[in-house]
Amino acid sequence: MSRPAAAALVARHFSTARTAAPVLRSALTTAATGAMAASLPSSLLLAGSSVINNTTTGNSMSTLVRIQQTAANVAHYDVDGRSALFTKTNPDRIRAGSVVQVTSLTSMTKGKPVMFAGVVIAIRHKGIDTSLTLRNYVLKTGVEQAYKVYSPMVTSIKVLKPQTAFVRNKLYYLRDNPKLFKWGAIDDLVKSEALRVAVADGTAVAAKSGGKKDGKGKGKGRR
């Protein structure tokens, strides 16, 4: 993709200015260009980033530069601070077994955001390629969706319930043992989150928020 076209594409998709990212990138670049000569492969350059040096003299890249490049990539696409949810040192990070709600777009040009909530059964930590796999039952069929966390089509990631009572980092065994999790609880969490957002926005009448405790059981896994 040509540089002006790439810059236009990025500008079109990210219309809100993110002041933090350019500062970080320029800070990294001065360190990178100070520490390393021009050994950044062009395949790792960010689209539209005129800040980072474009000369490519070698095929190899040191670990230091690769780590810095990854951090720059992640910072560039970390629009709403979601990288904090995937930082291993953060005690409130998303872990396998949490219930998470992801809102995403199906198309960059049209359509409304689509919401999918589910149990996190796997998190793949790979810098910019970090992905999150959610599992839920939709109309009695198990559905798994794996989202690239830093994709511009993923508009928000919300933790509905933090992880408890799961030891493993990958919960693929839940596919064969669905009874180990209360799947009905996910719908309840989504509803209460929608209500909380509506009340916070002022779109819901405050009196209604007290009357949501209905005891009707529905669907499997409710108990």
């Binding site: 999918f116 796999t133 069929t141 198990g142 559905v143 798994e144 969706q145 794996a146 690239k148 994709s151």
Partner: protein, 130 residues
Amino acid sequence: MIQLKSVLGVIDNSGARMVECIRVLRGKTATLGSEITVVVKDARPLPTTGMTAASLANKVKKGQVCRALIVRTRKEVRRADGRYVRFDDNACVLLNSQGQPMGTRILGVVANEARLLGWAKVVSLAPKVV
């Protein structure tokens, strides 16, 4: 990744329950949104009373060969932004020779790939699209 001899569930009200793939129209394996030729392996018994001739004509019998559109696969399918979708079963919707759905209702969730490949009529019948 549906291929010859793959067994799929049918999620419309055409009468079939399980079908077996006998031909993949394009390529060796078929995925979400692809059309295949199937033979009906298991069908709901046709009721003896209470059905008009027109609605009976649409119900399939065991052994009947027809086409189908794959709407759910156990194999994960990649979307353009790097997202993956996977279902717990392989499911399809039966089509007649003109490519129209044989059933009038779809019972269950359907993948969005079908709509992107031009099967909007089928997807519009679905109660939920993922």
